[in-house]
Assembly symmetry: D3
Homo-oligomer: 184 residues x 6
């Protein structure tokens, strides 16, 4: 049963730590699934907010991307930046994603969505990228509030949020997060 195999494999995302935090000394950090869950939640809220503001966004497509964007890490694991200099992570994930999606009811559609996200080819793809970075910064903020340090590097992503086309819509959210960090 290919779908069952896939769902069991997806369980790896619960067991695998996000290595960025692990390497900086956070004990038992969040899992990849933990991260993906909040990315999807953020995507939902931002997409619906955009609709309220009159932007034409396809919520269903955005949510699908959010749920599928890290699925290939069930095989590839969360390869950290230190390794990406030696490994073509994008290429590996692309191949793994394709092979995983074959076990689902809509392989072509899912792969098309995955590429849209990966290469930021559509509004929804770019929105999920925005949500992905925002999620990471919210987590960084939480770890810092809890007392962990050595996480400055992550905050470089703040600039890319501010340069995004979505910043005008979510300025309050992004700046609010930056404020909270200072207020530590």
């Amino acid at each position: 049963m290919p779908l069952l195999d896939l769902l069991l494999e997806a369980g790896n995302l619960k067991r695998l730590p996000r290595t960025g935090w692990l390497l900086r000394g956070v004990p038992n950090p969040e899992s990849i699934a933990d991260h993906s869950y909040r990315v999807a939640l953020i995507t939902l809220f931002l997409a619906d907010e955009l609709k309220v503001k009159g932007v034409d966004v396809n919520v269903e497509r955005a949510l699908k991307m959010a749920l599928l964007h890290d699925l290939a890490e069930a095989r590839i694991t969360d390869i950290p930046l230190t390794a990406q200099y030696y490994i073509d992570k994008g290429k590996a994930e692309k191949k793994a994603a394709m092979e995983l999606f074959i076990k689902t009811p809509k392989p072509e559609e899912y792969f098309r969505l995955w590429r849209e996200y990966e290469e930021e080819l559509s509004l929804e793809g770019r929105l999920v990228k925005f949500a992905d970075k925002l999620e990471m910064l919210i987590q960084a903020c939480e770890y810092e509030r809890a007392g962990f340090s050595n996480l400055d590097e992550f905050w470089g992503a703040l600039d890319s949020l501010r340069e995004s086309e979505f910043y005008e819509h979510f300025r309050e959210l992004v700046d609010g997060l930056a404020e909270r960090r200072k207020g530590r």
Copy 2:
């Protein structure tokens, strides 16, 4: 910034363990967010499979329910069965869900979806309930494969999957899971 507050609160779902496993002696079990992620993933695959089979299901609404269905546990925590005899969990979650959704762009819609799931008022609501139970059993299967025992109780949910209107569509999946358990 109410939405930022909500997203930070949602971080609790990463920190809070699923108490069912914890009480049966699984050390560092999955988080609530871990569970919710795979529920959403299963919902996506099952909904798309139903569409392929010609069933008229609204994938977007189903995904929203899956992502929102346990959000209130960010405040309530994963109250185990042993406690539910003394606590009206449904009532508590309902109130907490309402107060959380107020911080989002679409409080009424989200609350309506939440109720649809909770009370199984729509096809999508019942599908997410099915996905929620299926996810739990897949996790039970994984813990048992890893060597943990004392999880028989959970497998009672298999009956309710088999009595569901979706069983005819996902018989292979449900029976495949039951097979795997035996094959341990």
Copy 3:
């Protein structure tokens, strides 16, 4: 064997984390049993100190209260403050405590002691409440010394210790703890 069942259930207190710390980002925080142990130890020392100072306190009754005061959490879990707005924790614990004590040799006595503590009806009950808060602050102090932050909220309990009838007797202890915190 009801008493054996109860003792096995009490094992939950070792497995269940104190959620106050967990929600603020302390990884693998103390268990409920960890906390209860030191509450009982503090109760012992404070009660004996009071006796030395000529206060008439029943040490046996105080120790029994300390050991029993959180037993119901074996069923209810450590419901955090965020949830208590939606849940009548006191009522739930009362019912669970009664049903647990039925499995012991002295149900009525234990339940009377439990109520004395919960409602601060006797000197001993109030002393154990004092020990309960003091224990929490000592733990907060330890977590802060170890580098965790975000625990300010807990220190509100310092005021209630200072307003207590026992403050005159344990001024040095309470103020010493507050000093240590500053000295961080």
Copy 4:
């Protein structure tokens, strides 16, 4: 403030694992404080049961012993059997216990109680020894139910429970535990 120092030191009992389980591969096993809490709880129930049965036992003294019996491990740690062949643990604990008790309101009394337990000089001392072993077996039973194995060695303690003067009073409890193990 010597008493505050002592209470902070007692915090070590929450952080230190029980090494018997750790060495047999239980990940994140119970702490010394976890164990001590249930020993005290068992002592309470057994002592009160004995009183109901007409045995003259001093509950207060028994509870004090239970709470103090492992306190010296805050300095000594839970030295496992493999080490006790090379280390005179009894002697080390005795010295450490004395030095810790000096910081309390009743050093002499506490040390006398500690010795009564250690050398089983009184009914209460022997009862707490009985509770100490029983607690360990209940924990072993729980770990085995959860799926851990390699714990046979611990069950040797069952014989010493059955040879104890308290066996006649708690036969049902001891045999019930042995039954449960078989029923695994």
Copy 5:
């Protein structure tokens, strides 16, 4: 200070889990450093045993290989088998190893040793490979004794131990391990 940087980077080996166990559900499994330590220890004992038996082996070179063989994982992490289908791990490790060794007093020698191990070019290189596999099986044996299952796959390495040139010398060790497994 390049050497200091390298030593700090080597700290990653303590923080990074061995993913083979993690993916099969062992919670908090051994670190890469844990594994490397026992590989070095085994190498020491086997090399000295070979010398006792009259085999001409260079212990110093073997120990250096054992200590350096997984150092590149400080950057690459322990990429599991599921990922190696998509990633050329060998190539990545080779490049990372070179760049790490540049920070040491003897880059060329260390790289030559690393290659000797990786490509099994010398007796010492093959011995460390043998020790690497043996270590993994001893760990598998320990996890199984502790109650974990789902580790059958790893035992395939037993065959390669038995086909090795060293099997004649360490037959008792290899067969003894296989025996112990059966005796579970």
Copy 6:
């Protein structure tokens, strides 16, 4: 098979935490094996650096000492300073080391090396002591960078590094580490 027994016992070093960190509140700190691995790695680099500088040092002997120096803790555990006031750790380790080495191919040689390290009888013995302390400080530095505090005590070892005969050779390394700490 005595050697297999020894290798299985050495597995304890992976399971046992370094108690110095544990007692100061670092959750899930490094294992003894984690520490020993980096001590051996440091020994390798320092010994080779000394050779480059024309100092006559036997690398093989140094590496053997590094790998064997904490092996006895597989039985004794990492007895913390608080306990060493009550326990003659050196004597216990000596006896345990002897009994463990009997299971190896070269008991006399290993015990001689162990004593050379323990009593700093040779250049290599003193070098491994230097590496042992340096490793601890690098770890302290990493925990502090990650946000943990309360580790000042450990830095006393900096003085002993500076008074060592090796300081002139590794001044840059030692001072670089001290700099980094300040730069926190």
